[in-house]
Subunit: 338 residues, 2 copies
DNA sequence: CTGAAAGCGCTAACAT
DNA sequence: ATGTTAGCGCTTTCAG
């Protein structure tokens, strides 16, 4: 494997010039630039990242920490981040915390500290104080996606606004008995996302002058099965059966659609269903939903980091950066039956 | 951030001894080991990975290349690999080829060659000759998961045997008109996986003395929607309607279950359905399937690499390493109605 | 078992 | 615009 000296020799210049040329930093005449590039190409030269990192202090590598990887949201964020990083010539090192105990601790106490990273993106993590400490100890730019970390810039959708929009959509169709499938208590540990969505739902009802009924709330675990079970509880009642259901995630919403079918109810004729996410399966199930764009969130996180890494100081930016969302109309919602 | 010299000074030894102690290589007396570890712990010392890599030539980092990340199989393999790597103190650098053209080329022509990797795992990739070349050019151990790469050790399930097992299960329940939802032509590019599964299906039928009917094969694209549409085509016929369907993946099988429901057919009373994968949704849909264990495949790939990296030479091992699979009985298959 | 010292391959001052 | 050179922080002979 050719080294920088080979290239320098072949091009008839010094190693410093090769370095300057290939990194794009520092002044180089057009003529030498050509020579160097030709030589490098001919030899198939690629910089040794460890040597470069050691000398420069930059690794061209960023770490992405996720609580687990399977799951549409996480893998989409990672995909988006990966794409943006590739464009900038950065590698992505993945740290998956799933699996529990030991692994998790060693990620925070060893892996992240090896000076292998120029920055880190933390996706939807609920971190202990110690862990946040370690993250700061890395001494590198840090941005969160999908869940706030104490004092860290974070990209998220405005969960309250999203839930309000979903509920208002149902309201605008004439529904007044709107059930809500939200997060169970355990899930509320995660950034109060379920709670915020519930508040959005309740806010919309209040604004419409509708009483909030505890009976219309069912907790679940953000899975399809959980949504299915919650929806059955909601729909099996003889009286006060909701005419519409707002689920806090698409997977739960799809579970609700399947529950309705199993109970002999048609969607949307008998019951409307709306979710949040625009999950990959939403289209197949005809699910109306509020789309969020996790890939875009991953890309945006990278962009922020790149600016900070290259331009120097970070531009003034609130701690919480609001990401776009959008009502996606499909066939699971309709007006109240006359 | 403390360096190795700080530790050496505090422990009253040389940097060489610190290095030996912390890496576990080379002889160190129990007494100094203790001193060094105490000093390192006290200072919160963590080796600089670039310095260590540059000096040793080892990066403690392995690359995982996937065609895309969203998708149960891929993210599961990556999770498994990550877990195993973490245990061994290795980082995982992810290269996602999704997104096409440029990115893909630069991964093979630049990223993988930066000497940042000790080995690479290629997951289910259909590679061009040039790409395989580049992979070899990395000059590092290489193992494939889920799809053969010219001349590379690869972990896969025996697709033919898996398909045969699925078909035999249906046969053993008395079914003789068994439909098959397999891959469309475009999908066959990928390691002939669909073709192998189809051969397994046909082999089982032949062995049972049943004629193979082209009418009972429907191609699809390995998605739920594709499976749904293919199943409708299969089930909408008035005569010769299959009494059982074998889909080459769980997602397609779930699509088939939903198609059956929409046509007013009960599963398994009117039609049995079996898939391959044991996808995360299989349980919820009561899908009988042949389970494969992608996390285990990821872990196993890492184990092979670790052995090769540490023990030195690779043990004699066939190019194609067969991974386990297993019939998972649920409620989507049943005997023929009397 | 431990220490001294020579690099690993590149980058970044500093000169020119 | 280009060359010279001193490290970056560790690992690893080689001596002792």
């Amino acid at each position: 494997m050719a080294g920088i000296e080979d290239v320098a020799r072949l091009a008839g210049v010094s190693t410093a010039t090769v370095s300057r040329t290939l990194s794009g930093k520092g002044p180089v005449s057009a003529a030498t630039q050509l020579k160097v590039e030709a030589a490098a190409g001919q030899l198939g030269y690629v910089v040794s990242s460890s040597a470069s990192s050691l000398a420069s202090g930059r690794t061209k590598n960023i770490g992405v920490v996720v609580p687990f990887l399977a799951g549409w949201f996480f893998s989409s964020v990672v995909e988006g981040a990966q794409r943006a990083l590739l464009r900038s010539g950065y590698d992505l090192t993945l740290y998956n915390l799933a699996g529990g105990g030991d692994e998790r601790a060693s990620v925070f106490d060893n892996f992240l500290l090896r000076q292998r990273l120029d920055a880190v993106i933390a996706v939807s993590l609920e971190l202990t104080e110690h862990e946040v400490d370690r993250l700061y100890a890395v001494g590198k730019p840090l941005v969160g996606v999908g869940g706030p970390i104490g004092g860290v810039r974070t990209l998220t959708i405005d969960d309250r606004a999203v839930a309000r929009l979903a509920t208002e959509h149902l309201l605008s169709l004439g529904h007044t008995r709107i059930g809500h499938i939200g997060g169970s208590k355990e899930f509320d540990l995660d950034f109060h996302l379920p709670t915020n969505r519930r508040f959005g739902y309740e806010g919309a009802l209040e604004a419409a002058g509708i009483d909030i009924s505890v009976d219309l709330f069912e907790p679940a675990d953000f899975t399809m099965r959980g949504g299915y079970q919650a929806a059955r509880r909601l729909l099996e009642r003889d009286q006060f059966r909701p005419t519409a259901i707002f689920a806090a995630s698409d997977e739960m919403a799809i579970g609700a659609i399947l529950a309705a079918r199993d109970l002999g109810l048609s969607v949307p004729q008998d019951v409307s269903v709306i979710g949040i996410d625009d999950h990959e399966l939403a289209d197949f199930f005809g699910l109306t939903t509020i789309a969020q764009f996790p890939q875009g969130q991953g890309e945006k996180a990278v962009e922020i980091l790149m600016e900070e890494l290259h331009a120097g100081a970070l531009e003034p930016m609130g701690l919480n950066i609001s990401m776009p969302f959008e009502l996606k109309l499909r066939s699971s919602t309709a007006g109240l039956r006359p």
